[in-house]
């Protein structure tokens, strides 16, 4: 369960100009649901997610993960998260297995339990062939998988994924989709941001549309279409954020 209450965040840009990234964003992502965050570029999606992991400190408002305030107890809150960040890289001198092992150890797994967790995530993401290769020279999709695996190896209650499908081929996207659906059934809370409308429409139980640092609309994909009076989610999205901005993204 992830709750975000009235988040405000501004950055001091060049020439002391304040850039307001978040202006009172609030939403909830419930357990057993997949919640999608949609928004044009620069709407504050990544800023919001970074506040969730405690990398950024909100000027006002709070983020609460399973009842733990991120600002008060960042380490405990992060332990309940599986994070797929906006920018990610791989330790190129480690093999995929070693890298997943590393993150599993950081999350406190050890011994047989760790070994099983790693094997199962590798199986789930269909990456057995990659596992014992050094990650140097991996394709974008392969890198994605490794990052996903390391983010989710400890089976966190909450998944936060920042555009997890960018650069994935259709097969991998399906693997990911099935994977997320499986964890939804198990009652995990999944929050992810995306630009791909079909994916959001196909996967999400609820959609949150963010524009200009604020919540523009929220509901099931169908509700949003009805709200905007458009048959397609894409058109509804454009109408709801009130501009054509970001459609090309």
């Amino acid at each position: 369960m992830i709750e975000v209450n009235n988040l405000h965040k501004s950055f001091s840009g060049a020439k002391k100009q304040q850039v307001k990234a978040l202006k009172g964003l609030s939403f909830q992502a419930k357990d057993g649901e997949i919640t999608g965050i949609l928004g044009p570029n620069g709407a504050g999606k990544t800023t919001c997610l970074r506040t969730l992991y405690g990398l950024l400190k909100a000027d006002e408002g709070s983020a609460i993960i399973d009842g733990i305030k991120v600002t008060e107890n960042p380490l405990e809150a992060r332990a309940k998260l599986g994070i797929f960040p906006d920018k990610f890289g791989l330790y190129e001198r480690l093999t995929a297995y070693e890298q997943i092992d590393y993150f599993a150890s950081i999350h406190g797994l050890q011994g047989n339990e760790k070994h099983q967790a790693i094997e199962s995530i590798i199986q789930d993401l269909e990456m057995e062939e990659l596992a014992h290769r050094k990650t140097q020279g991996f394709s974008q999709g392969q890198r994605m998988k490794v990052t996903l695996a390391q983010a989710l190896v400890h089976k966190p209650q909450n998944f936060v994924l920042d555009e997890p499908t960018r650069g994935l081929d259709v097969m991998s996207t399906r693997v990911l989709r099935n994977f997320l659906a499986k964890y939804k059934e198990k009652g995990h809370c999944i929050l992810f941001s995306s630009h791909v409308m079909q994916e959001v429409a196909a996967l999400c139980d609820r959609v949150i549309i963010v524009a200009g640092g604020k919540l523009a609309a929220e509901g099931t994909p169908q509700e949003l279409c009805d709200l905007a009076g458009e048959p397609l989610l894409e058109d509804a999205f454009v109408k709801l954020i009130g501009s054509d901005e970001g459609v090309a993204a």
Partner: protein, 387 residues
């Protein structure tokens, strides 16, 4: 503890798989003994050999006996040089001008002015000029003494006091150039060996976008910093040990007894030096991590960190020029260890109080650096630098 272990294992794995960085770290250690051997061999050669000197002598015919005395001692006129030496000595252009009235003045017992003309600031001429001067002075003294004897006077009357010099230095302190270089070198090794690992694990990871991911994991920044520090210092200590071991092996090939010096680097000394440099390695790595975590890219880190390397090179050199060393220099990192190493190489017993003091100060500074760094890694400025 488990988290720390995982972090450390991963850092070590990465460091040891980065063959190129490791090579750079270890070439430092490999170069040390070679450099020390080559330099000490040439120095010994200069000190004990008396190669022929060729002077541009004018008026040599006026003082044949003086010329003969010079010749007997391997000092010749430029015309006698073979082609190889001629070029060199022509360029050096050392002139000896003997006046026309040499014989006349000698007969009359007047002072004869012989001119020795050369570029006295040229270092290569130091030893030849000294030899020429000594020979001429000896010649003059022997004539002076004979004059006195002829007049029935004991020449010793001219020397009421004779200084008998007794050197209390331990024999090994004669090898001061080796010990000075080695001291400087191991300090440099402590700073240089861990350098690439320190930069790679901080600025390098930031550039490869893996730092952000690590920072959003449920692990305290203190553990992250400590793991990186331990890894970099381990490599640095490895470099120091390798330098010392290879050097102790290679000084065996240099025959220092030729110049009446002894220098040995036994296991006991190696252990003491390693113990002494252990805090320095941590200090150096902490400093490098501290600077390179502030840098935005690998390249920026490299250029700023290279300033830090000046530290071990500058401080011992600066210390050589300070004759009355203030007490606090014994305690500061780098300078303290450098002074202790000087004593150790001179064969003096180790001043354990100074050793403990400088180690304590070094460790304290390291702890402060680590604390500040792990605090800074929590700030969102670090994240902003990423994006």
């Amino acid at each position: 503890m488990m988290q720390f272990k995982a972090l450390l294992i991963k850092e070590l794995k990465e460091a040891f798989r980065d063959k190129r960085a490791l090579m750079v770290a270890m070439t430092m250690a490999l170069m040390a003994p070679i450099m020390i051997m080559v330099l000490s061999k040439t120095m010994i050669k200069e000190m004990i050999e008396t190669p022929p000197i060729y002077l541009n002598i004018s008026g040599g015919e006026f003082a044949p006996k003086l010329i003969k005395q010079l010749k007997d001692n391997n000092i010749f006129s430029l015309e006698e040089a073979d082609n190889k030496d001629k070029g060199v000595w022509k360029e050096r252009n050392v002139g000896l001008i003997i006046p026309e009235d040499f014989a006349q003045n000698m007969m009359e017992g007047k002072v004869i002015e012989v001119v020795l003309r050369a570029d006295y600031s040229e270092k290569a001429l130091n030893s030849p000029l000294r030899r020429v001067k000594t020979e001429i002075r000896m010649y003059a003294q022997s004539i002076g003494a004979k004059r006195l004897i002829v007049r029935g006077i004991d020449p010793r009357i001219l020397q009421p006091i004779k200084i008998a010099e007794q050197d209390t230095a331990k024999p090994s302190s004669n090898a001061v150039f080796i010990s000075m270089m080695l001291g400087l070198y191991v300090l440099m090794a402590a700073f240089m060996s861990g350098l690439s690992v320190a930069i790679d694990s901080s600025a390098g990871e930031r550039e490869r976008n893996v730092l952000e991911m690590l920072l959003c994991q449920p692990v305290s920044t203190l553990k992250i910093v400590c793991a990186k520090l331990c890894c970099a210092s381990a490599i640095s200590i490895l470099g120091v040990i390798l330098t010392l071991v290879l050097t102790s092996f290679s000084v065996g090939f240099v025959d220092l007894t030729k110049i009446g010096a002894t220098f040995n680097l036994d296991a006991y000394m190696v252990i003491i030096i390693v113990l002494m440099l252990l805090p320095i390695s941590f200090f150096a790595s902490a400093l490098q991590l501290f600077v390179s975590f502030q840098a935005k890219s690998f390249k920026e880190a490299q250029s700023t960190v290279s300033m830090i390397i000046m530290l071990p090179a500058m401080i011992p050199v600066a210390l050589m020029f300070i004759d009355n060393k203030p007490k606090w220099l014994d305690w500061l990192p780098v300078s303290g260890q450098s002074l202790l190493m000087d004593d150790l190489f001179k064969g003096l017993p180790v001043n354990w109080a100074a050793y403990a003091a400088t180690a304590a100060v070094t460790i304290a500074i390291t702890v402060v650096l680590v604390a500040i760094l792990s605090y800074r890694l929590k700030s969102e400025k670090v994240v902003l630098a990423l994006s």
